[in-house]
Amino acid sequence: MSDLRELYQEVILDHNRSPRNFGPLEGADLHADGHNPLCGDKLRVAVKVDAGIVSDIRFEGSGCAISKASASLMTEGIKGKTLDDVRTLFDRFHRLVTDRTAPPDDNLGKLRVFAGVRDYPARVKCAILAWHTLLAAVDDNQDPVSTE
């Protein structure tokens, strides 16, 4: 078992305590709801898109430290990106938290703090929920996302 601090990095704990871009987004163009029935995590991701670029993004809901911090750091990482960038980042992030053989991915920037999740398979769903929900919003999929 790897060190707990590898999972609960200071950045993650900080974003759990004070999530960024947290709350409703007035005048959102796209939004989606995500749900992790296993642990009761629920969140909504709302996005404003301007000429194919994410001009604003916010999330609200409740969840564990990993899911809350993941949503918070995701909103920071996504602002200003194109919708195509969002899909690419999703794939990179997914690899980061699931593939134990993946080499370090510099393109992920701060999101690399979630690398520790790969050693806790039961927590992958927590880390990825916000991203699945974001993808559903971007794809304008109105069916609630479930990790089950």
């Binding site: 078992m1 999972l7 642990c39 809350k68 039961a122």
Partner: protein
């Protein structure tokens, strides 16, 4: 409290006292370590570990008794049949059913409930009728009735619970009426630990002519169950929570009701004769056991209830009750911890939340200290809603748990605080 001296009749423990060390030795899985920490298994409400007599019964069956049952004319098949039917007898004695035929083997408690919903329920419940359950039911005692009510145009009524997690008996009584076709209620809550006054509940229901199903999944490994004394009409248990194998459970039903119920699934063994024009059904319990059953599982369950009876509920209660008190007091010393489920009559379940920390994070962190607890909604989402929490952390005890393991949990919770500040 490492040793509690209580007389019992377990042939596997020769000094005739409840010696926790000897009990633990019977469960080989408990000796393992998680990383460099000893395993403290505190998720017994999800499933219990298996003692050697159960493991040996399974292995002996496959090594020396395996054959299909009820059909073969050869000696081996007869031995397998005897072992399977013998297990039915053991479960009947364990629950004090009037006769073995009142015990139907199922996959688990869930299947037992679904069986009643799909046979008795579909026969008895009609448009405008009502089925009554309670707020503290496991999803397995909610969804089968919702499905039935939806199909039949019937209504599901729910008995509320108090802030401490106790059933509101007055409300229960007022929900019962001429339209009520069944009351289905849990004996002991898996997320709160509450023990319901089932005997009183049955009296109230029977006074209105309402039959009662009791979900004994949690109760049956903590306290003696006497279905005749309780007076209930159906009682379901699951083997894997009785220190037995997964994939096997039992439904008790009063003979008179079982005889009148239509079959559950169609297939072999549940028939007397089959032609393309007409099939006549076998008698109970076989009418409800289509196809080759989980023979090994039933035999393992028989060994499990023998094991429990051998240790004895007097000894089990004398060990588990003070352990629950010790654990409750220990958890109450943890800053920011709140217990969910504080009924005056409860057993072996400690559901809690910790200020500022999601239960899922608690579960991951205590796991690194070797402590296995459950986190989430425990398949009781309406209970979570009732108490206004998304989830809880839950430690649940069995006969082999110790105060040392409780201390290990409390120390691990200190580590949670260290991480989260």
């Amino acid at each position: 409290m490492t040793t509690t001296s209580v007389a019992h009749t377990d042939p596997t423990v020769t000094d005739r006292t409840f010696d926790i060390g000897r009990i633990r030795e019977l469960f080989p899985i408990l000796a393992q370590r998680v990383g460099d920490k000893p395993l403290a298994y505190l998720d017994n409400a999800a499933t219990t570990q298996k003692p050697r007599p159960v493991l040996e019964a399974l292995s002996r069956y496959y090594a020396s008794e395996n054959a299909n049952i009820h059909r073969g004319v050869y000696a081996l098949s007869q031995r397998a049949t005897d072992a399977y039917e013998g297990a039915r007898g053991k479960v009947a004695r364990f629950l004090n059913a009037a006769e073995p035929a009142e015990i139907i083997f199922t996959r688990n408690a869930t299947e037992g409930i679904n069986l009643v919903a799909q046979t008795f329920g579909r026969q008895q419940v009609g448009d405008g009728d009502e089925v009554v359950i309670s707020t503290m039911e496991h999803h397995s005692n909610i969804v089968p009735w919702q499905m039935l009510c939806e199909e039949k145009g019937a209504r599901l009524r729910v008995v509320p619970i108090t802030d401490s997690g106790e059933l509101m008996l007055d409300e229960l009584a007022s929900l019962l009426g001429p339209r009520t076709k069944l009351l289905s209620i849990v004996h002991m809550s898996n997320s709160l630990g509450t023990i319901n006054p089932v005997r009183r509940v049955v009296e109230l229901a029977h006074a209105q002519g309402v039959p009662v199903l009791v979900d004994g999944s949690q109760a049956a490994y903590h306290m003696p169950v006497d279905v005749q004394a309780l007076g209930c009409d159906f009682y379901v248990v699951t083997g894997h929570k009785l220190y037995g194998p997964t994939g096997i459970g039992a439904l008790y039903g009063r003979r008179e009701l079982l005889d009148a119920m239509p079959p559950y699934q169609g297939g072999g063994d549940m028939i007397s004769s089959v032609t393309f024009e007409r099939t006549t059904y076998n008698e109970v319990p076989h009418k409800f056991e289509a196809g080759t059953p989980h023979i090994a599982g039933a035999i393992g369950l028989g060994a499990a209830v023998d094991f429990i009876a051998g240790v004895g509920f007097d000894a089990i209660t004398a060990h588990e009750r003070p352990l629950l008190q010790y654990a409750t007091a220990a958890l109450e010393t943890v800053p920011g911890l709140r217990l969910i489920g504080t009924a005056s009559d409860k057993a072996s379940i400690l559901s809690f939340v910790l200020d500022g920390v999601h239960p899922h994070d608690i579960g991951t962190i205590v796991d690194t200290e070797g402590v296995a607890i459950r986190t989430g909604h425990h398949c009781t989402q309406p209970v979570m809603e009732r108490f206004g929490v998304p989830a809880t952390a839950r430690a649940s005890l069995a006969m082999y748990n110790t105060t040392t393991e409780i201390d290990q949990l409390v120390a691990a919770l200190t580590k949670v605080r260290e991480v989260f500040g």
